[in-house]
């Protein structure tokens, strides 16, 4: 008994001391972040991933960036002008310095674009660019091979790097500029950008420390975060607990099961943002003859209750979808909504001669998308009502992709985020007729092919009149909707949570890159 009392006393003591120390460790301007992952490397061109882009927005600045409403906001480029169909001229901001002290000029932009064209991950996206040229110190001209309407979308990916800093040879004779995947390159260990935060310390997988860059060009921002400690907390429950216990101030990816708990806690605030990642299923026409019949594909689409899944399984944490493009995207067509109708689905199956249905295999990951395995289970149950019997196999991500690549299953789950934040990207990767030469339809699991849609999207991609282009993409969405080239489910929402006084609402966006340089903390 005495032992227990002593234990209790020491715990109470610890609690009190911990409480007393809290204001000291959490001074008004330090932001302690608990993200689900830390940046894989310091070389922002080594890997194209959400985590790396978030990191890019801390230590670097893009030429332009997305606003909450999918408009462009000037950053290192202050003005831009399409001089003719294939040339765009950008005026750069003056008086910007890199963390190393070097001055930022047009040659850094040219150098960065050329490096992006070498990067395995960015190469494909930057293919439309023929060359970039520095006209003078603060003007750069970008030439595209063909008329290309998405130059500004690409500019959100151009985070100018310090060309002087990354030029030369390391002590053991390697080029400082080289991009080595999973290797020990200079750029993966050293960093110099123009961003609001300067990296001061990094222990991979444990923590990353940033200080505000004292010579940051954007002096008008109200952001007052002076230092950042980023701790990766991959376990969902632990990340939420860390926020609720005051161990961190800001977390990403609040899991649906904890939304209620976070919302009701008085000490933290939950911010939900509709996301842009489409979740859906692909029907393999190579393996199942029935899926070649558009009526069967429509029946599958009609049998799935998107609203129900978003509502009950996702607890409102998803926006039901009838098309690839989320609201705000160029090709978003407001007429295309989910059309759950079980009776019609059964009729269509009967019309197609599959009244008795058939048996198929389905694969889905179980740790990639929010509630992925449960969603697949629900969809399997819904399909059983039109007599499609589903053998579902779910597996962890590391095993899922190799399995997906073999295309041996009949139905596969996929989530896709458009790298260009534009509608055409969805079609090019998910529904284009497969062409190994050009890489089109790389993730077209079902071997779906509709040349009319392909032609329309391809044409749209060379139209620089954006209003006309949007009209074409909306038309393409409508055609795909009718033809069910992809079984749409929903766009997965994003949820962030932060301690009271950490005003994250203005700085988070659907693209999932919080602009922490502008974050205001008032405690």
């Amino acid at each position: 008994m005495t032992l227990k009392k002593t234990l209790l006393a020491s715990i109470i003591g610890a609690t009190m001391v911990g409480g007393a120390m809290l204001p000291l460790t959490a001074s008004a301007e330090t932001l302690r972040i608990g993200y689900s992952a830390d940046p894989e490397t310091l070389d922002i061109h080594e890997q194209l991933s959400g985590g790396m882009l978030r990191f890019s927005h801390l230590a670097f600045d893009p030429l332009v960036r997305w606003t909450k409403d999918f408009d462009f906001e000037p950053r290192l480029a202050t003005e831009w002008e399409q001089t003719d169909d294939t040339h765009i001229r950008m005026t750069l901001r003056e008086g910007v310095t890199f963390h190393s002290g070097n001055e930022f000029t047009a040659k850094d932009v040219v150098w960065t674009i050329e490096r992006l064209q070498e990067s395995p991950d960015y190469k494909a996206i930057f293919e439309p660019i023929a060359s970039a040229e520095a006209i003078d110190d603060y003007t750069v001209e970008i030439t595209t091979t063909e008329p290309y309407p998405l130059m500004l979308n690409l500019a959100t990916y151009i985070f100018p790097m310090d060309s002087q800093f990354y030029t030369g040879e390391t002590d053991n004779g390697n080029d400082k500029a080289e991009i080595v995947k999973a290797g020990n390159s200079f750029a993966s260990r050293n960093i110099s950008g123009t961003g609001p935060f300067r990296l001061t310390d990094r222990r991979q997988g444990v923590r990353v420390d940033f200080e505000r860059f004292e010579d940051y060009w954007d002096t008008e921002t109200e952001g007052n975060v002076s230092s950042i400690v980023l701790t990766p907390i991959s376990e969902n429950a632990s990340r939420v607990a860390a926020l609720l216990s005051g161990g961190v101030d800001f977390i990403d990816a609040v899991p649906p099961n904890d939304l209620e708990r976070v919302r009701e806690s008085g000490d933290v605030e939950l911010i939900e943002v509709p996301g842009t990642r489409i979740i859906g299923f692909q029907l393999n026409q190579e393996k199942v003859e029935a899926f070649q019949d558009v009526r069967v594909r429509q029946a599958v689409d009609l049998a799935i209750n998107q609203e129900g899944i978003a509502d009950r399984l996702m607890r409102g944490f998803a926006t039901p979808a009838g098309q690839f493009s989320p609201e705000g995207y160029s090709g978003h067509n407001p007429d295309l909504v989910p059309r759950y109708d079980l009776e019609r689905a059964q009729e269509l199956m009967a019309e197609a001669g599959y009244e008795d249905g058939f048996t198929v295999d389905m694969i889905a990951p179980n740790n990639r998308y929010v509630n992925d395995a449960q969603i697949a289970q629900a969809v399997a149950n819904m399909l059983s009502r039109i007599n499609i019997r589903v053998n579902l196999r779910t597996m962890p991500l590391a095993q899922y992709w190799p399995e997906y690549d073999t295309r041996q299953s009949d139905i596969a789950m996929l989530g896709w985020h458009s790298d260009t934040e534009d509608s055409a990207n969805f079609f090019q990767y998910l529904s284009f007729c497969i062409d190994d030469e050009t890489g089109a339809g790389q993730y077209n699991y079902g071997n779906y092919c509709n040349e009319e849609i392909d032609a329309l999207v391809t044409e749209a991609d060379s139209v620089t009149d954006l209003e006309r282009r949007n009209e074409m993409l909306r038309e393409a969405e409508a055609m795909l909707y009718e033809d069910v080239g992809f079984v749409m489910l929903h766009w997965q929402n994003l949820a962030y949570a932060a301690a009271n006084g950490v005003d994250i609402e203005p700085v988070v966006n659907a693209i999932d890159f919080p602009y922490l340089g502008d974050l205001v903390i008032s405690r």
């Binding site: 911990g18 997988g205 607990a241 216990s245």
Partner: protein, 349 residues
Amino acid sequence: MIAFLIKRLMHAVLVMFVISVLAFAIQDNLGDPIQQMVGQSVPESERDALRERLGLNDPFMVQYVRFAKNAVQGDFGYSYFYREPALGVIARHLPATLELVFAATLIIVLLSVPIGVYSAIKPRSIISRFFMGASIIGISIPVFLTAIVLIQIFSIGITVSIFPESTGWGAWLNGFFSTQGNMPSFGRGYDLVHVVGHWDTNLATWNGLQHLVLPAISLASIMLPLFIRLIRAEMMEVLQSEYVKYARAKGISMRRVYFVHALKNTMLPVITVGGVQIGTMVAYTILTETVFQWPGMGLMFLDAINRADIPLIVAYLMIVGVIFVVTNTIVDLIYGFVNPTVKLTGKPA
């Protein structure tokens, strides 16, 4: 003694060899590391080039021989994720795990010996019965749950309001059962003291100790009930033996009989089991470290599996194999010291 150590060294080499073959054999089922390294829109040709550069296209035997050649020279390959030698990565994560296991072991030893001995001496007392009941419950609660409950109570805090707040006693009880939280719920904290090499310690500062408490308790919670019951059972058996009866008859003080004569013989099997269990505990840290985001080997291993970081997985498994051999060797040595009649080399005396 020397012969014994050499024999054990050969055991260790054999264990590492077998584990490395097994780990290599299953690597194809661990997933595709390339997928984790490239963006979604990277074409197949680029992926193949990377696969080729990492040597993943070679046949099993070629890959294994290449690995074994390097491993003999102490090079266990390069972690894909950390971009540095796998052995270095493990060395960096090892101290955190060892400190956690050390703290948990300390808790187990300090609690299980007195409780076990007490409940053997006074098996019918209420306290003994309470501990026996509690240990049954403790042994059946998974460490994951223990950890989450500890975090809820001591880090986040709970507010109890089941008693009537208006009455004095109700308010007092509510206050008594409610907790404030504020204990750290993740990581090792930022107040570590550097000792030597890769070793930063949690044990030297108050803040560091605070971070250590909850993970250590939850790790200890699996083994503690086991040891309490083991010590109690052994002690009860020893207390029935002739020499204890004789010592009693001789009039030696009961305290001396219990704690010197009986306890010494009780501890022999406990040491054997304990040694093996410490090895198991290193494995159990995977769960504890995941919940508390403790940056040790367990968390590192789980992440490596999720990323299909094969070189790191293989190196980790081999190192854990060595840890098992080493702990078993130390246990055998200690056994020899405690009980000189035991011959280490196994030859008849």
